[in-house]
Every structure is written in C-alpha cells, then in structure tokens.
C-alpha cells in the first residue's frame, strides 16, 4: 500500500506517533485481555482435537514495537496509517492483540487455521481470512483476524480484534530472524554475508518443513499398522494395501482364523507372517498341486498353512455347514503336508491337537 519511494515525506510526524502510542498505552489492558481470551478458547479447541501438537503464545503488542511499526508504515507512506484513521487504532493495526500457534508441519498449519476459522467469529472485513502468506522475503505463516470470544460476565473486549498467526516451527525460526534482521532492521542494515546466511536459513527451514511432513506421514502410517484390525473389512483393506490390488474370498472366515492365532492382529503382524504377495503366490502354487481353484483368501491360507497346520486343521474341523473350498483346501493341504513328512521321515505334531 506504499504510495511512493522511501525518500518521500513520512505520513506521520513524531508527535503524532507519540499521541497514538500514548493512546494505545491507555487501551493496552483491553488488548491483553483480548489476546488472553482468544488464547484460552483456542487452547480448549486444540485440546479437543486431541492429536495436534502445538505451542501457543499470546501477547499485546509492546508499545515500542507499535512505535516502530508506525514509523515504518509512515515512511512507506502506507495511506491506511493516516493519523485520523489511527484514532480507532484497533481497526488499523490489527495485530495489537496477537496469538501465535506453532505447529510441526505445513498440513498442521492448514488444519489449525481451519479450526481457528471455524471456532471463532471473524470480523466483517476483507482481510480477515487471507490465503497462506508466502512472501518473497521467505516469511511463511497463515494469519486470521478473529473477534474476541463473547463472555457473559465481561463485555469490555466485545468486538476487539485479535490476529491469530499459525506457522510451522521451522518457518517460525526463519520468520523471527527475518523479522529482526530484514524487517525491523534492528541495530543495522543487514550486511551481504548476513543476507546470504539468512537465505541459507530460509532454505534449511523449507527443507525442514518438507522432511518433517514426510516424517509425520511415516509416523501416521506406522501407528496405523499397530492398531488392531477390528473387522474383516479392515483386514481386507490391510492386505489389499500390502499387495496393491483388490482381493477375493471369504474375509470374515479369514479374520476369525487369524484373530484366533495372532495377538494382536494388526497390519504390522500381517507383514510378520510373511509378505502377502509371496504368501499368495505360494498358496496359488500349492492349490495347483492340490488340483484346487483358489480365490485369494484360500491362496493366502494355503500360503501360511505350513506354519499353522495344526491350528487351521483344528479350526476347520469344527466349521459348521457345507464343505467349502477353503475347508477342502486346508484339509487337503494338511494331508499333503503329512504325506511329505512321512516320506521324508520328519516327525511333526498331531493335527488334531
């Protein structure tokens, strides 16, 4: 919103800036209360989500930071920052009350922003819910302007605006450095080596964001593999994901069989029984030797049958109803295994238990 170059006359005089800062000082408690109320509500909402990891902080803008911001905007001749408009300072400087949520990953930044925009009433203004900020300077976060939550016993903050910033922990590191070095120009203008190093930090932070996202995806997959499969549909999905294509057969029967012999029955446990693709291939080969037409479940059972002969024989022996292909396959497989053992002289257990 700057209207001319840095050499133009500042929009505000120093006495005007002083008036605005003094006026803000008198109102500062209200902005502190606004930020605190938004943080309290946000903390409850984030806890209710359960799975999100975050760091939450809040503050009212320090008067000297406001003074610095007014000077910069004035020097840039940002016309929004004219003296008359600044008499309603909260309408112009929208980060006087601020909350910051720092999260692990960019997808979490999106999730938390979505939650913020769902949980709070937003002010009726065009800049309340801007898209994620990805500035050429490297600054990266998502901002939302929210209204202070309504409280029955306290109307002093009603209508007050609070800026909620959500950023990843890596972006936060860069944002802070960039804010101090390039934006605020604390101490001195950035030297060429400082600028180069700041650019390196930016690249490292972007890489960290990328790797953290991959790591969290992998953790989520790992967690899912350790959760007990609760029904035949979940077992089917786990096996289909492992082999990469749809599978056929009686998964209700397979679920009961595996649940009887594996504790706990999880996707990770299935992998430990053997690679499903290899077990299916082994089972199909065995079915061919037995002269059986095998669907995928039957082939899978035949694939693990050498390890579970005694158990599956006992399980199938007490199945009620007609003799299914799966039952025939188990009984044929067990008989064939026993014959091989007799001819090779191996001494295995009694299949009847």
């Amino acid at each position: 919103m700057a209207s001319s170059g840095p050499t133009a006359t500042p929009l505000l005089t120093e006495p005007q800036i002083e008036v605005i800062v003094q006026r803000y000082l008198r109102e500062m408690a209200r902005f502190e209360k606004t930020a605190s109320a938004v943080a309290d509500r946000l903390r409850r909402e984030l806890r209710a989500e359960g799975h999100l990891r975050y760091m939450l902080s809040f503050r009212a803008k320090h008067p000297e930071d406001l003074r610095g911001k007014l000077r910069r905007k004035s020097n840039d001749r940002d016309v929004r920052y004219n003296f008359d408009a600044l008499m309603e300072i909260g309408e112009v400087v929208t980060d006087l009350a601020g909350c910051r949520v720092v999260v692990y990953s960019v997808p979490d930044e999106e999730r938390v922003t979505e939650l913020v925009r769902r949980a709070f009433a937003l002010p009726d203004r065009g800049d309340a819910r801007p898209p994620p900020i990805r500035r050429p300077s490297g600054y990266q976060a998502t901002h939302t302007l929210v209204l202070a939550p309504e409280a029955q016993d306290d109307t002093s903050i009603r209508g007050s605006i609070c800026e909620v910033q959500v950023a990843t922990v890596a972006a936060h590191l860069f944002n802070e450095l960039e804010h101090d070095i390039a934006y605020k120009k604390l101490g001195h203008d950035a030297t060429a080596p400082e600028t180069r190093l700041l650019a390196s930090v930016e690249r490292a932070c972007k890489l960290a964001d990328h790797v953290v996202e991959q790591l969290l995806d992998e953790r989520a997959r790992g967690r899912a593999r350790l959760v007990s499969l609760s029904d035949p549909a979940e077992l089917r999905l786990a096996l289909e994901q492992a082999v990469g294509h749809p599978l056929t057969g009686d998964f209700a029967r397979l679920f009961k069989m595996l649940d009887t012999v594996v504790d706990p029955l999880t996707a990770a446990a299935l992998e430990q029984l053997g690679k499903p693709n290899e077990l299916l291939a082994r089972g199909q080969a065995e079915a061919t030797k037995l002269g059986l037409q095998a669907d995928d479940v039957t082939a899978y059972v035949l694939g693990i049958l050498p390890e579970y002969k005694a158990e599956f024989a006992l399980i199938a022996a007490h199945w009620r109803g007609p003799k299914t292909a799966l039952r025939r396959a188990i009984q044929s497989g067990v008989r064939r295994g026993a014959k091989i053992e007799q001819t090779t002289g191996s001494n295995d257990d009694d299949v009847d238990g």
Binding site: D263, A269, E311, D349
Partner: protein, 164 residues
C-alpha cells in the same frame, strides 16, 4: 466343570509351537483345592510353582492381579525353595481365583473353559505381535477346540499375560 494340569499339558503336547498356556485361575482344579504336595514353590513370593506331571516338569505361574494361571514347559532342574509358607502361597492362589471370578463376571462365559496357548513373537522382538492359539475345552469330548467366538478379543486381552 474345571480344567486340570493334565488338560493343559495335553494342549502343550498337541501344539509344540507354543511354550505356555494361560487359563483363568478359577478354572484350574489344582488351584481350587488345598495346595497339593505336587506343587512345589519356585520363588519366595509364592507365584511360581514346579509341577511334575508324568515325570515331566512344568512351571505354574500365578498372576493374582489378573486372575490368570500360566503353565509353561520347564526343562530346568528343579530349584525348589522352601522359603515360602503354605499360607503365603495359598493367599496368592486365593487372590488369583477371586480375581478370575471378578474378570469373568456372573455367567459371562456360560461355563466355557478357555485357554490361550502362547508362542513366540512373530518378529522376534519384544512388544511385537505374537503367536497364540485361542482354545476352549470340550469336557464331553475330552478335547480342546479352537475358540473363535464373540469373546475372542476379550479373552485374548484377559488371558494374555506379558511375562517372560
């Protein structure tokens, strides 16, 4: 109707891939009667006993908090301790029997006698899924059968004692 150590040994013999069988303590006849001289304490706490069945040694562990008794293959030479008193051992067994009754609730199992054969972990590392075989004993047939009834998950949770 109860199980006996002989029934548990039959399950271990029938399925050599497993090293132990867990049952509810109140289902085991030997724990519901005064402690017999065939059960000799293996530790000072009165939780582990040497049980000899047909000249073979087994170890019977009591888990009083869970109401579970575990019979394991026990190849070691008997290192029996005389330190534990009959009263101490009897107290723990009684606690295990009471806990088992609480775990099962009134009529939950309808008299079913359940056993969980326990084998090695599938991946060989602690904390991983392990090989088990859920069984129910059929007193009429005098045989163990596979159990895949509606209480299978509950049974695995209750009986699976993660002890070394």
């Amino acid at each position: 109707m109860t199980l006996t150590v002989s029934n548990l040994v039959a399950a271990l013999d029938g399925f050599p891939a497993y090293h132990a069988i867990d049952v509810f303590a109140d289902d085991l006849a030997e724990l519901r009667q005064p402690m017999s001289s065939s059960m000799r304490p293996l530790d000072a706490q009165g939780r582990g006993f040497l049980v000899t069945h047909q000249d073979r040694n087994f170890r019977l562990d009591i888990f009083p908090e869970r109401g579970v008794a575990r019979l394991s293959k026990y190849g070691h030479a008997a290192a029996v301790t005389g330190a534990v008193t009959g009263a101490l051992a009897g107290g723990l067994v009684g606690a295990a029997v009471d806990a088992a009754k609480r775990q099962k609730g009134a009529g939950l199992l309808g008299g079913a006698l359940l056993g969980l054969l326990v084998g090695a972990t599938l991946g060989g590392a602690a904390g991983e899924a392990r090989r088990v075989f859920a069984l129910t004993y059929d007193p009429a047939a005098g045989q163990w059968r596979a159990y895949d009834g509606g209480l299978l998950r509950w049974m695995k949770d209750q009986l699976a004692v993660h002890a070394s």
